[in-house]
Amino acid sequence: MAGVAEHAVDEQGILDILQRHSTDRGGLIAVMADIQAEWGFLPEEALRIVARASGRSLVDVYGIATFYSAFSLRPRGKHLICACLGTACHVRGGPGVVEEIERQLGIRQGETTPDGLFTLETVNCLGACALGPVVVIDGHYFSKVRKTQVRRLLDDTLAGRAGKEDGAGRLVPLEVSCPRCNRSLMDPGHPIEERPSIRVTACFDDQYGRVRFSSWYGGNGFCAEPEIPSGHTARLLCPYCHEELTGTDACPACDAAMAAMLVRGGGVLRVCSRQGCSGRRLDFP
């Protein structure tokens, strides 16, 4: 199978996950949820490692993997479409929407397109019943979906537009400064998304570097020199007074520390310190 290489399982990664959950409850279910988060599905090899390392029989492990519908033993596509077939969505035409997705993609629910782009799954209720029929594509919720919208949703997903509100006019331009020395953190010399970027010093692995990101609130432009591996956190410092830009809040999305900067005009911008996490929030205290 073409995808085998990219699904290669490194044993250490699995053992790390097992280690992480050695003390908490939930045991294998939490372990498998993490494995699936990492690889997108539960590779056979991973399940064998889990069985070996945890001392549970492979039957037990397989039993859990197949009992819970959230787990998949087959690789999933690049884009995951999850259509709700709860009662409220059902009476409002959910099955018709699923049929249309099936028709457009040429696959049935639970399957992945041969090109590996889309996987279509259905779920029994997402709890957004007031807005049925609901379809979730790559984590973005679409409400009151009509059959006639399906084509466009799929096209938008492929073009990376799905769930994104169009137009930079909706984004908020920010100017931020260090909460300690109050010096501007704006860097007109290196614009991102056609605005001066926000520049801070990043400390990762005892190395110091620069991180620049978009000064649009809601924008996602970003660059780091040297690069920080995805998923790792860095300490973010003011480039002038070298104080850490600490905030009291943790990132709602990933629980990492958030750096805080003062916003001109009032308010605080908080940015998640984890590489790859888009957690940002603007607070007016």
């Binding site: 997402l126 009151k144 084509r151």
Partner: protein, 1096 residues
């Protein structure tokens, strides 16, 4: 933040936060939970923030992104305080306008919520009926706080109940309070929570005890638990802390289903904050009370909501239930005592401690205290989360809070309790909602999902849906559940595919009872409920599926095919001619129309278009395809001579002579040479269609009519501006072939009798004399000069050119004949004003809405303050200088010198719901008023003039209709058939035509000596027409194109046809909107169409 070292420390913190309260002058609040986020709430948050920054308003205006406000249908919403203005469905471009107005203390009226019944603007949130009738206690705080800020929770009194309990220092007091409050488990079982706690408190605590919050909200259609966890997770934690303190539990677990990412995110933030504040963990608030809570995420298994299965899942195993006893309260997680309560139950605990048990128990009804959250979803106008005191009636929730049905389709049931629950029919909406009443009605409370179903929901399909769900979710441990749900699903599937027999229903019922009795856990024991409750209340729908092979909700695909075709009483292949119009193949399109319908040009103008009402595009919320306008386009454009009659099987005459099969055993039928003769009485749409079909079968038909000319109601009642006379006459003429003899001016009972006709040699008679006798008001003075019935009035004009109306005209009634009479009166020379008087609201008027609207445009007066439709009408009426009165009933007729001078009316208000699902009009004493009138036209309904038929051996019912077998239209007298309005009372043109067709078939079978009843047939699309080449790629779905009408001023006193035809471009564009439901059956790609029902 340092840990809070004592309860007084917590109070000081609250005090401090309160004194430091926001002094900003305006507060904007938007809901930012999952459903509103899906509707774009975060974009609104950004837009507001951007506006505040750019305009330097950060110090003056605060923005709160809070939990659920409940009105999910209207999201994203924006609440402006202190004004209390509530803006629904806010868009980014509305933000500046709203903020600017708010700063000046103004309201943006056009963006405010408008009551859909009265059209009134609701300035404040609590004026909105959806909120007005609620009592939001458990949900109340969610809409004020940001879930991720523990400070918000504390400011609003959070953890005060915990502090109070710790200060009291008596765990037994907490148990007692909860017991006295009467709180019952909100997860659905309704077990008294206090009792459960008492049992846990009595368990030995040496090995530790568990408390579990069950947030595996698996019932599809229920989402209150998600909303509470997302919007106010601390309230659940506080409830668990109180529970732990009361019972001595040491460890807490929140089991959240994996489908709720935002809820688990907010919960984990809350857990972290609570630990940091010293509200969880060791030495809580400086006492020696220890308790910690962990979140465990499920992985998608409905059965894990069952407590023993949940325990297995928490232990990291497969979530299979186990036998009880031992009950979890003795042996739960890791064999330790465990009490499991639902999210909403936990969130009620702080409320009880804060309010006191007495006050809590005073809300709701006896044995069902407190409030309950329901998720009101499905086919209802105001979907969302509602919280009401227990004991409110279902009807109040559905109609007062939910705002009633979305469209025209009537609500027929609510489903409560998810897959374990059942359906409650609309006839029982007077029942109060509580655990015991719902159980007695054959359903359960469940966790609070209320899924509203209307006429477009098929109850067999609903049962099938739940059974599919349950067979999927059955863990498989018990054979009877695993196989039973599977078999029940298969039986239901057969029924929905037209393969069912009456025995299927019996077997299904038997199986359901067996599964109920022989399974171990709650899932299996209740798995039969969806079947048993739909069988109990909607057995007739099952019977329609198995006996008549019909799905009246147009849901079961294999019985419906294309819904436009299935909806048409003549089964016209609407999808097919629509597709042909798109291709420009107009002659073929005409052929398709004409094959099914002998009066195509007439129906293209006056049909009530069942096809459009059931169009799938309409079912999806868009406007249906303008099928009738496309039919008009085709019939206007194609010469009828292109039609060549299709040869029909069976029959008697020349056509059949070429069909050896049709002739068998029939040679002795006719004593006279040639084909048998049949008498058709009444040359309206039913009679014309019967005559046409019988003539096509080769019979000789004599068509009798009382008037001087054929046409019946088409000619006598329908005004020329809707149906031009030359179109009507030409079409009727084209039907009258050499096999049809016309005998006009012949009245049944006066000129001919049934006995006489049989004596003349007619072998069968079809009675289709219609219903043209008007009901009377039963007021003294109806015989006065100046008072007439709508039938007399319309016939006098349409048939004889007499104008009976003059001066000020009043018309009583709200049906089509009332509106026709009004519009005809408006066109008569001596009429000054026309006023329509209707006893209900204009929304309830049975007349076609577009006719009512046209009438108003033409200057007919209509006056009301009740519905928004009416307000629109009022605008139109004002423009034309005229009006209509609704909610009035006539009480007295005033006369002078034997002539009408006026009428006294009384105003009505809306009372209870009646059997028709409309609110009953109730007279308001003292509201009488008098109108001076020169002409009064009574149009309150018609009935058949069937008096003479009584003496001819026919059975007549109370309404004057002839009693027939509804399938064959055979009367009690041999050889006599009846149909159309004579049987049904006033009905549609196409309905009458379908009766004519059915009668022709029955007469044919009767004369051939075959059994009259034919096996039911399902006609699925079978001809493939290539779909449109271009994929519609527009940003917005194309809108329906309705034909233009000639402007109202030029309609004055004119009988020129009002509605115009579509252009070729318009027709093609409109036809392209069709979803082509037929392709599922005909597309070469999807394989040859096979009709399972037809195979039998």
């Amino acid at each position: 933040m340092p840990r809070l070292a004592s309860t007084s420390h917590l109070r000081r913190l609250r005090h401090l936060l309160l004194s430091d309260q926001d002094r900003r002058e305006l507060h904007l609040t938007t809901c930012a939970e999952t459903a509103c986020r899906a509707s774009g709430a975060m974009t609104i948050v950004q837009a507001v923030q951007g506006y505040l920054l750019q305009h330097g308003l950060v110090d003056r205006i605060a923005l709160h992104a809070t939990g659920c406000h409940g009105f999910c249908e209207m999201g994203p919403t924006l609440l402006v305080e202190p004004q209390q203005a509530f803006y629904p469905k806010v868009k980014v471009e509305h933000v500046p306008e709203i903020i600017e107005a708010a700063l000046e203390g103004r309201y943006v009226e056009h963006l405010l919520y408008r009551d859909s019944h009265t059209g009134r603007i609701c300035y404040q949130r609590d004026d909105i009926p959806f909120f007005k009738h609620q009592q939001r206690t458990v949900l109340g705080m969610s809409q004020k706080i940001e879930a991720e800020r523990i400070h918000d929770y504390i400011v609003h009194g959070g953890y005060a109940a915990l502090a109070q309990a710790l200060d009291q220092g008596d765990p037994a007091w907490v148990v007692e309070e909860v017991k006295r409050s009467g709180l019952r488990g909100r997860g659905g079982g309704g077990f008294p929570t206090g009792l459960k706690w008492e049992m846990l408190a009595r368990q030995p605590g040496d090995r530790g005890k568990f408390l579990v919050c069950n947030a595996d909200e698996g019932d599809p259609g229920a989402y209150m638990d998600r909303s509470i966890l997302e919007g106010n997770p601390h309230s659940v934690l506080e409830g668990m802390l109180l529970g732990a303190y009361a019972t001595g539990a040491t460890e807490g677990i929140v089991y959240v289903r994996s489908e709720y990412p935002l809820a688990s995110q907010h919960l984990s933030v809350a857990l972290r904050q609570a630990r940091e504040f010293g509200l969880l963990g060791q030495g809580i608030l400086g006492t020696d009370f220890h308790f910690d809570v962990q979140m465990i995420r499920g992985a998608g298994a409905f059965v894990c909501g069952e407590e023993t299965a949940l325990i297995h899942s928490v232990e990291g195993k497969m979530g299979e239930p186990r036998q009880r006893p031992p009950f979890p309260i003795e042996k739960g997680i890791d064999g330790k005592p465990t009490a499991i309560n639902n999210v909403e139950t936990w969130a009620n605990i702080p409320v009880i401690i804060n309010q006191g048990a007495e006050q809590f128990a005073a809300i709701g009804t006896k044995n069902n205290s407190g409030t309950k959250v329901f998720s009101l979803v499905g086919k209802i106008k105001n979907t969302g989360l509602v919280e009401v005191p227990m004991g409110m009636t279902i009807g109040q929730i559905v109609h007062d809070i939910g705002g009633g049905p979305v469209g025209k389709a009537k609500i027929k049931a609510v489903q409560t309790g998810g897959p374990s629950g059942g359906c409650i029919p609309a006839s029982q909406f007077h029942l109060p909602i509580d655990y015991d009443t719902l159980a007695a009605a054959g359903s359960i409370m469940g966790s609070g999902g209320m899924i509203v179903m209307d006429e477009s929901t098929c109850m067999v399909d609903v049962a099938k849906y739940f059974m599919n769900f349950l067979r999927d979710e059955s863990c498989g441990k018990c054979f009877t559940c695993r196989k039973g749900t599977q078999r029940m699903y298969e039986i239901l599937d057969d029924i929905t595919r037209g393969l069912g027999t009456p025995e299927h229903i019996d077997l299904l019922e038997e199986l359901a009872l067996v599964v109920k009795d022989t399974t171990m856990c709650g899932l299996g024991q209740t798995a039969a409920n969806p079947v048993l409750s739909t069988l109990r209340h909607f057995r007739h729908e099952y019977q329609r599926h198995v006996i008549d092979k019909r799905c009246d909700a147009f849901v079961c695909r294999e019985l419906v095919g294309a819904s436009c075709q299935a909806a048409c009483p003549l089964e016209t292949e609407a999808w097919r001619y629509v597709a042909l119009v798109e291709k420009g193949r107009y002659e073929e399109a005409y052929q398709v129309i004409r094959e099914a319908n002998p009066l195509p040009s007439i129906c293209a103008r006056v049909c009530d278009r069942q096809c459009e009402q059931h169009c799938q595009l309409g079912a999806m919320g868009a406007d249906p395809v303008a099928i009738r306008a496309l039919k008009r386009f085709v019939t206007d454009r194609v010469d009828p001579s292109v039609y060549r009659q299709k040869r029909v099987e069976g029959g008697a005459g020349p056509i059949c002579a070429q069909h050896p099969k049709g002739r068998s055993g029939k040679s002795d039928l006719s004593s006279s040479p040639g084909p048998p003769s049949i008498a058709v009485i009444g040359a309206g749409p039913a009679g014309l269609t019967a005559a046409h079909d019988l003539a096509g079968l080769g019979y000789r038909v004599t068509l009798f009519d009382a008037e001087a000319e054929p046409g019946g109601m088409l000619l006598g009642c329908i005004p020329a501006y809707r149906l031009p006379r030359e179109v009507l006459r030409k079409e009727i003429q084209s039907l009258l072939t050499e096999n049809i003899t016309l005998r006009c001016g012949t009245v049944l009972g006066r000129d001919v009798t049934l006995d006489g006709l049989f004596a003349e040699g007619f072998r069968a008679v079809f009675l289709a004399i219609g219903a043209d006798k008007s009901w009377r008001l039963d007021l003294p003075g109806e015989e006065l000069a100046g008072v007439c019935s709508s039938m007399e009035f319309l016939k006098a004009f349409n048939l004889h050119g007499e104008e009976l109306a003059g001066g000020n005209v009043g018309i009583i009634g709200g049906g089509n004949s009332a509106v026709d009479a009004a519009r005809v009166a408006m066109r008569q020379r001596h009429v000054q004003s026309v006023r329509l008087l209707y006893r209900r609201t204009s929304r309830d008027m049975p007349a076609f809405a577009e006719e009512v609207e046209a009438a108003l445009e033409e200057g007919i007066e209509l006056e009301t303050l009740v519905s928004p439709v009416k307000i629109r009408y009022i605008e139109a009426a004002l423009r034309e200088g005229v009006k209509v009165e609704t909610m009035v009933s006539p009480v007295r007729i005033h006369a002078r010198d034997g002539r009408l001078v006026g009428i006294e009316c009384v105003r009505n208000r809306l009372g209870d719901m009646d059997a028709s699902g409309r609110r009953r009009p109730v007279a308001i004493p003292g509201s009488e008023f008098t109108l001076s009138l020169n002409t009064l036209i009574v149009a309150i309904g018609e009935r058949p003039d069937s008096e003479p038929l009584k003496t001819m051996g026919l059975e007549i019912d109370k309404a004057g209709s002839v009693v027939v077998d509804p399938d064959t239209l055979a009367t009690g007298r041999e050889g006599v058939f009846a149909g159309g309005d004579l049987v049904t009372g006033p009905n549609t043109v196409v309905g009458a035509m379908a009766a004519g067709r059915r009668a022709a078939q029955s007469i044919d079978r009767y004369l051939q000596g075959l059994p009259l009843r034919r096996p039911p047939e399902v006609h699925l699309p079978s001809v493939f027409v290539e779909p449109a080449a271009v994929e519609p790629d527009e940003d917005e779905a194309p809108v329906r194109i309705d034909p233009a009408t000639i402007p109202a001023p030029s309609r004055q006193k004119s009988f020129v046809e009002v509605e115009l035809s579509l252009s070729a471009e318009q027709a093609a564009a409109e036809a392209r909107r069709c979803l082509r439901c037929d392709l599922k059956f005909t597309s070469p790609a999807s394989g040859r169409a096979v009709c399972p029902a037809a195979e039998n």
